[in-house]
Symmetry: C2
Subunit: 128 residues, 2 copies
DNA sequence: AATGATCTACGAATGATTTCGTAATGCAAT
DNA sequence: ATTGCATTACGAAATCATTCGTAGATCATT
C-alpha cells in the first residue's frame, strides 16, 4: 500500500471531484458542462485543472480513446474527512462539538436525520 | 442596517481574528506575539494583514494613540456560521447531516459533549 | 537635540491558484 | 484528401494571499 501524503484539493479541484463523485468517470466536456450549469468557466480551464489533478493523483485518466476519461482517485468520504479536520482546526479551533452544534442549529435538519445522529451518538457512547 | 456582503477571511486573517476574539482589542505587537507562540511570523507581516483587514471591515482600528488598537468587527459565532455554510457547500454539497456524522465519528468527543449535542437535538425535535 | 527603540505606511517579491489563448493533433463527413 | 470540429497540450497572464524590507514618523531617554 502506497503512502502518498494527502494533497488538499483546491476549490476548483473540489468542484471537479464533486462532479466525478456524483456521476462517475467522465470526459472533460461533461465535467465542464456540469460546472457551467453553476458558473461560467472555459473549457480549457477545466481541462487544465483536471490535468493538474492527474499530477496530484487526485484523479486517474484513461487515455485509450481520443477523449480522455477521468475518474476520481480519492474517495468522497476520505476527502471530506480530511478537509473537515483541516477546517475544524482553522475555523473552530478543533472543537468538533462547537462545529456540530452550529451545523445543527443553523440548518434545516429533518426528523429522520436528527434521529440518525442521535443513534450515532448513542453508538459512540456505548463504545467506550 | 448595512448590507455588506460576507468577505470570507483568509487563513492568515482568521488566525488574527482568533487572537482578537480571545483577548479583545489589541495592538499589532500583542497579536504578533500571540501568533509567534505558535509559528514564526514577522511583525510587519502581521501589521500588513491587519491593515488589509481594516479595508475589508473585518476589524476596526483606533488610531488615537501612536500604537493603534485593533478590534474584531465580526463576531466569532457569525463568522463561524458563514464559514461553515461555505464549507458545507464546497465540501459536503450542503448536507449538514453528513458533516455532523463525519465530525462525530472521526473525533474524540467527550461524554459531556455528546450529551450536550443530544440535548440540542432534542430541543430541535421539540421545536417543530 | 541626539540616539535608539518602536511603530506605521508602502511597495514589491514570492508562491499558489485560476484562467484562458494558441497551437497541434485526431476524427468525421463530405 | 480537404474541411471543419472537438480534443489535448502547453505556456503564460491574471489574480490572490502571504511575506517582508525599507523608509519615515513618533516617542522616550539621555
Amino acid at each position: 500500500m502506497s503512502h502518498k501524503k494527502f494533497q488538499k484539493p483546491t476549490d476548483a479541484e473540489l468542484e471537479i471531484l464533486q462532479v466525478l463523485w456524483a456521476h462517475g468517470p467522465s470526459s472533460v466536456r461533461f465535467v465542464n458542462d456540469q460546472l457551467n450549469a453553476i458558473r461560467k468557466i472555459g473549457y480549457t480551464t477545466t481541462l487544465k485543472v483536471m490535468q493538474i489533478m492527474v499530477g496530484k493523483d487526485l484523479v486517474n485518466r484513461n487515455t485509450d480513446a481520443r477523449t480522455h476519461i477521468y475518474e476520481a482517485n480519492v474517495s468522497e468520504a476520505e476527502t471530506q474527512s480530511k478537509l473537515l479536520e483541516n477546517f475544524l482546526d482553522t475555523a473552530f479551533r478543533g472543537s468538533a462539538t462547537r462545529l456540530v452544534m452550529q451545523a445543527l442549529g443553523n440548518h434545516q435538519t429533518s426528523r429522520q436525520e436528527l434521529a440518525a445522529i442521535k443513534n450515532l451518538i448513542e453508538k459512540i457512547e456505548n463504545q467506550e
